[in-house]
């Protein structure tokens, strides 16, 4: 998150300042890609590209703070992911293709989590084993940094349902770690 400087960066980007836009891009892109690797694993790069094209085109008309900006961007990404036909039901059957650690972690041998530094890709693979709505909500809450209400608006659920789904997802993750012996 950029924080207090976000308003200035956004205004500069809306006036055509490439450096300011690059700042916005670098701040959001990792979270965007990770989110898309969970909700549209087979097309994350393509969907990210489409999302940025749409963001660039509509950026001059955007108004709002940083959370609103992220909420807007992730809303676009979610729609593009749906358009790409990567339904959430397929997430658990389509492996992340480009990571050996993913292969290891999608197997029951999750004990590697305790033996080596946890990689982002490994955790993404672990998240992908959760029910789709729980995984998406955790990504929006934790990776995109959005609040419960913003996430609720994006996924079309009530804030209470979003909170419950996030809690369940985290408990599942804790259970996976526990069974793998990472935690007592």
């Amino acid at each position: 998150m950029i924080g207090a400087a976000f308003g200035g960066r956004l205004a500069q980007a809306q006036r055509g300042d490439e450096a300011a836009f690059a700042c916005l891009f670098r701040d959001v892109q990792p979270a965007l890609l990770r989110y898309l690797q969970v909700v549209a694993p087979a097309a994350a790069d393509d969907v990210a590209g489409e999302t940025w094209l749409q963001v660039v085109a509509a950026l001059p008309a955007f108004s709002g703070g940083e959370e609103a900006f992220r909420g807007w961007l992730f809303t676009i990404a979610r729609h593009r992911a749906i358009d790409a036909g990567r339904s959430r039901a397929r997430r658990r059957t389509v492996p992340l293709a480009h990571s050996e650690s993913v292969e290891r972690l999608t197997t029951p041998d999750a004990a590697d989590l305790a033996l080596e530094r946890i990689s982002t890709q490994a955790v993404l693979a672990q998240l992908s084993t959760l029910p789709p709505d729980q995984a998406e909500i955790i990504m929006l809450r934790v990776v995109a940094g959005l609040g419960t209400h913003e996430v609720a608006r994006i996924v079309g659920k009530s804030p209470g349902a979003v909170r419950v789904a996030a809690h369940r997802g985290l408990r599942r993750l804790a259970g996976v770690l526990e069974r793998a012996g990472v935690t007592p």
Binding site: A13, G16, E18, F21, A22, F25, R26, Q29, P30, A31, L33, R34, D45, D46, A48, G49, E50, W52, L53, V56, A57, L59, A84, L113, I118, S119, T120, A122, V123, L124, Q126, L127, I138, M139, R141, V142, V143, G145, R163, V164, A166, H167, R168, L170, R171, R172, L173, A174, G175, V176, L177, E178, R179, V182, T183, P184
Partner: protein
């Protein structure tokens, strides 16, 4: 069975309620979701989950910013005044890798539309469109009027005729630029700028047909006009009461023939009897391009004018 503080609703459906997550109460879970620091007495389970989530939100890896150049390129294209769409200037390989087929299709459609527009405009100014369409373009964008079926040779040797035509055409159509250009050219002719109106009776605003041979018409121009007139002399008779030049124009079915031909300088009226093809937008035509068929202009240039839709589009489509 349930963890401290966890409601039965939250635990409903949890697959391993007795074995997993039982130490994670709601406040701990909310702290994890909000990225807050855990209390010192937080269970180890919570710490493990916190480590996972911290890894999820960790710093960008080198591959994750690989698309920055493409995004900046799209942004620069969008921000530039000349940019038509963010995708238009996407670097080729990167763009093809990023753009979906639908976006590529839209880009092709946009290029097609531009090519069509340019080709159509070029054809209109070259007078190469079918008659009714050419007339429409004539009135809408100031393109030359419909070309006669068999235009007589006009000519570089009669620049005053074309200049008068441009001058009066601009007056008739309200263009601010063309009159200035026409006037500048005509000012070089004998008599100077002050006599343009007299030199080109077309400038009279009442729309009445100009006298065939108005008094005071510059003799030089008249003599030049008659120097070629024998070729079109039949036009005088056909034109009837409207005088020189109307005959051929009417014969060619130009709806505005009377309105325009009546304004021609009598000395060049034989040329201007086909003046529909002389009234061309200056910026789209080379000075000697009026007599397209007879000026010896390179064939390919003529073909471009005639290509209107067909030739204009093929290169654009072929490049896709």
């Amino acid at each position: 069975m349930t963890g401290p503080g966890a409601s039965s609703d939250e635990m409903h459906g949890f697959p391993f309620p007795g074995r997993a997550g039982h130490e994670l109460n709601e406040s701990l879970l909310d702290a994890l979701l909000n990225g807050q620091s855990l209390p010192p007495d937080a269970p180890e389970q919570a710490c493990a989950v916190a480590e996972m989530l911290a890894s999820l939100a960790g710093p960008a890896g080198p591959c994750e910013l690989a698309g920055e150049a493409a995004a900046l390129s799209a942004f620069a294209r969008s921000a530039s005044p000349a940019g038509t769409s963010p995708a238009a200037g996407w670097p080729s390989r990167r763009r093809l890798a990023w753009l979906p087929a639908a976006a590529t299709g839209r880009l092709a459609a946009a290029l097609l539309a531009v090519a069509t527009g340019l080709g159509g405009a070029a054809a209109a100014y070259a007078g190469a469109l079918p008659g009714p369409i050419q007339n429409f373009a004539h009135h809408m964008i100031g393109a030359p009027a419909r070309r006669p079926a068999a235009p007589p040779a006009l000519t570089k040797r009669h620049p005053p005729a074309r200049q008068c035509a441009a001058y009066e055409h601009a007056n008739a159509h309200g263009s601010a630029r063309a009159p200035a250009k026409g006037s500048a050219q005509l000012a070089k002719t004998p008599g100077g700028a002050a006599k343009i109106d007299a030199y080109c009776p077309a400038a009279n605003p009442d729309g009445r047909p100009a006298p065939a041979h108005p008094a005071g018409h510059p003799g030089g121009a008249k003599a030049r006009g008659h120097g070629k007139r024998h070729r079109n002399v039949r036009g005088h008779g056909a034109g009837g009461s409207l005088g020189h030049g109307n005959g051929p124009a009417q014969a060619n079915g130009h709806a505005q023939a009377n309105g325009h031909a009546k304004q021609k300088t009598p000395g060049s009226s034989n040329d201007n009897s086909t003046s529909g093809i002389n009234r061309r937008a200056p910026s789209f035509r080379s000075p000697d391009s009026g007599p397209v068929l007879n000026s010896g202009r390179p064939r390919h240039a003529v073909d471009f004018g005639h290509s209107h839709l067909g030739h204009g589009l093929r290169p654009a489509l072929g490049s896709q």
